[in-house]
């Protein structure tokens, strides 16, 4: 029998960016908050010996232990879904800080277009720009309404950037810290993009250009450009992460504690409210019930959706009928990439996760789509994240994959290769969704989440168009050989692509087509909030963390209001 613990005001399931933000804001306002984290505690002191590519980038030291839980995957409904036995396409986080520990730190604000995508697309291009299989919808909140929360997240995290992007939404204040260093590699891109008439700007970075104290009194260090950022933690405390900002902020109030090794397996619901959660202590195997006035799901996209499904909260999406909202609008990201081989050697091994320059000339609706067979686009960036030798073995086309020629070419080109990539938007399609797997279970006996996903026509068309544009930039940069990425066909879960999964618990203004309202409050349980990129009705042309940070701050405010007044917030 599960042991029932004392009730708390707020319980968060997972303590990464989302859990940390909710905890900090609620604890500061005097609510008693408990974070349930299935991983272990960790922090800057754990990263002193982190410059180890094999351990962290190849064997995924900081990521989810899939022997306990994974997902199953199929490209379409006629395929048998099978477990993702190894990490690949995306890297799920686990432990204090979650994926916020091993992120790169690219911190964008989605475009005003993103939040009103349906309205704006139909207004400009008519109702039939995309077929009815694309489940496009407005988010129910505008950029202007979210602006104060973007501002707040950027101030908490100290983002380094420059306000020169002509396509960005209006900002109420400048970036908290100046942009990072503009290196020779970045300048190559800047010069090429400028000469083609585009508008390059320094990528907004959570690897900070200088030491910064945030409004909560937390200090973030200055980036040393060591080249070990994504997939690693930062030994300088210079990559903003939950463990050095919102978590200690919540802790110092005395109103927040974290239970580690606590894997939540069910959200408990009674009538139109939830009463708490049931979790397994992964060390002892004991079960506990944690009652709470407010339950906030703040784990990753997949697990948030899965917990609602196993707890039977909300109606599962059915692609045959279009009924149900839970699991619908799964989105990913479309990644056009071009590689260039240069004559000169460059300092590619130096860098930082979010050291880069970007253009938005082909993002959102910055360019006319009247004659194009897709909508939206991508931010296009060059990044200098630090090439490491196991992962980076670039060879020109026609080079064998092993043997003497491979060795020579991969060594020669390691310091002579650059790539430019787009973070392309992903439009929701009726056949791309999440559900519960009928066959496979996790280590606690709970069904695995099942992902049904493939690239669609819109994705392929966008990918092709943007690859051509990126190749032009690479050529302008002076590459002696320009190698455009292959056109995309079927989504493959094996090679790493991006950890920007979205949807499944989407937000909106109508319970008929969304899981939560615009305050991320569940339509079927007023004291249940679901927070994360799962709320995105589609994925935009940027990295998602800035936008989910803003949504989380808006939700934290809503939870405080709910705690006082109760009831639906809309």
């Amino acid at each position: 029998m599960a042991k029932t613990l004392d009730k708390v005001d707020v319980v968060t399931v997972g303590v990464g960016w989302m859990g940390g933000i909710i905890a900090a804001e609620c604890a500061k306002a005097g609510l008693k908050v408990r974070g349930l984290e299935r991983g272990k505690p960790r922090g800057t002191e754990d990263y002193l010996m982190v410059h180890d590519e094999y351990r962290y980038a190849i064997r995924y030291e900081l990521m989810q232990d899939l022997s306990k839980e994974t997902i199953t995957f199929r490209n379409h409904r006629k395929m048998r879904a099978l477990p993702m036995r190894q990490l690949g396409s995306f890297l799920l986080g686990e432990g204090l800080g979650g994926a916020g520990t091993h992120w790169n730190g690219h911190t964008f604000r989605f475009l005003p277009y993103d939040f009103q995508i349906k309205t704006m697309t139909e207004k400009k291009y008519g109702k039939n720009k995309l077929s009815k299989d694309y489940l496009l919808q407005d988010w129910g909140v505008t950029y202007d309404e979210l602006e104060p929360y973007f501002d707040k997240y950027e101030k908490t995290t100290g983002i380094s950037g420059e306000n020169t992007n002509p396509f960005a939404g209006k900002r109420s204040s400048e970036f908290p810290t100046p942009p990072m260093k503009k290196t020779p590699i970045l300048k190559k891109f800047e010069n090429a993009a400028t000469s083609l008439g585009y508008h390059p700007y320094m990528l907004p970075s959570a690897n900070l250009s200088e030491v910064y104290e945030n409004p909560d009194g937390q200090t973030i260090g200055a980036c040393q450009y060591c080249g070990f950022c994504e997939r690693f933690g930062c030994e300088y405390g210079a990559k903003t992460s939950p463990e050095i900002t919102v978590v200690p902020t919540a802790m110092k109030t005395g109103n927040f504690d974290i239970t580690f090794h606590a894997n939540v397996v069910e959200v408990l619901k009674s009538g139109n409210k939830v009463t708490g959660v049931r979790y397994v202590d992964t060390q002892s195997g004991e079960e506990f019930i944690q009652p709470a006035e407010v339950v906030v799901l703040t784990s990753y996209v997949m697990n948030n959706a899965k917990l609602l499904m196993v707890s039977k909260i909300g109606e599962q999406y059915n692609p045959d009928t279009g009924r149900g909202t839970l699991g619908k609008n799964y989105g990913y990201q479309i990644l056009p990439t071009v590689t260039g081989f240069f004559n000169e050697q460059m300092n590619v091994f130096m860098g930082a996760g979010a050291l880069g320059m970007t253009i938005d000339d082909f993002n959102g609706d910055s360019f006319d789509h009247s004659d194009l067979d897709f909508i939206h686009g991508a931010s296009i960036s060059i990044t200098q994240t630090g090439y490491r030798p196991i992962q980076i073995n670039p060879v020109p086309p026609e080079t064998p994959a092993w043997g003497s020629d491979f060795k020579k070419a991969s060594i020669e080109n390691y310091t002579r290769m650059l790539s430019i990539g787009g973070q392309g938007a992903s439009m929701p399609h009726k056949e791309n969704f999440m559900s519960l797997d009928p066959d496979y279970r996790d280590a606690y006996g709970v069904p695995l989440l099942q992902l049904t996903y493939n690239f669609t026509e819109q994705d392929r068309n966008m990918h092709k168009y943007l690859t051509d544009r990126i190749a032009e930039i690479m050529k302008e940069m002076g590459a002696k050989t320009v190698v455009p990425g292959n056109p995309i066909s079927d989504y493959d879960i094996v090679p790493y692509q991006t950890t920007h999964n979205t949807g499944g618990t989407i937000m909106g203004t109508d319970p008929a087509n969304s899981v939560v309202n615009t305050y991320l409050q569940h339509w079927d349980a007023e004291n249940l909030f679901v927070v994360g990129a799962g709320n995105f009705p589609h994925n935009g042309g940027y990295n998602p963390t800035g936008t989910i940070g803003a949504l989380a701050y808006r939700t934290a405010e809503a939870i405080l209001k709910y705690s006082k007044n109760g009831g639906s917030l809309v």
Partner: protein, 250 residues
Amino acid sequence: MANEQKGVSRRDFLKTTGIATGALVGGGLIGGLVGYNVNKDGVQTKGGTQNAENHDTTSVKGLMFFTKRADFNILSQAVERIFPEDDLGPGAIGLGVPYFIDNQLAGNYGSNAREYMQGPFFAGEATQGYQSRLTRAEIFRQGIAMMEDEAQKRYQKGFTELDGGQMDEILTSIQKNEVEMKGVSSEFFFRLLRQATLEGAYADPIYNGNTNMDGWRMKGFPGHQMAYINVIEEEKFQKIEPKSISSMQH
């Protein structure tokens, strides 16, 4: 210290990170600094021959996984074909790659400890990835036996007695999925073997490959360096003597 040669003292370095100003960056880092052989003035107090806690760091290589020397020798010859010695520098054998792979097979890597290994098992589509019921250790064991079988079948000789071209022929067949294996495709085994070879050539030498950091030296990768903040704006390519994470002193 490469950074001191470039005129950056550790004190300056600490200052730029905010650590010397007394700011507790992220908690525990100052404690870490003191614990890692840096005195109050931020000056390094020990050389790199011993690690932070004065453990003797003498390294001896040995077999943890393979029981028959002959199997280890087949692995060694195969990885040397994938990453051969040439005028640029050592190949896989010279870099200790076979020991790296042996040692990895004896641990979490070999037993797929952090991967989902529950059934039922089905072959699946290529887009669904690894679906074998076999662990990497089992795949390597079977793969090496298969290479020996192929050598005997094709040339009536052991794999290690073949000339390089004959070995390449067998490896190419394996790569092209022309050789039968149980519970896994030979193509998959080849990908695993190739990837493990690159890992052994370029992982930090603490894993018993990349001997003398020569893999990094060939490639121009400086390994673990504290910071590039003072050189990252240089146009000129920076040749920096590599360092292992075992030298970590900050």
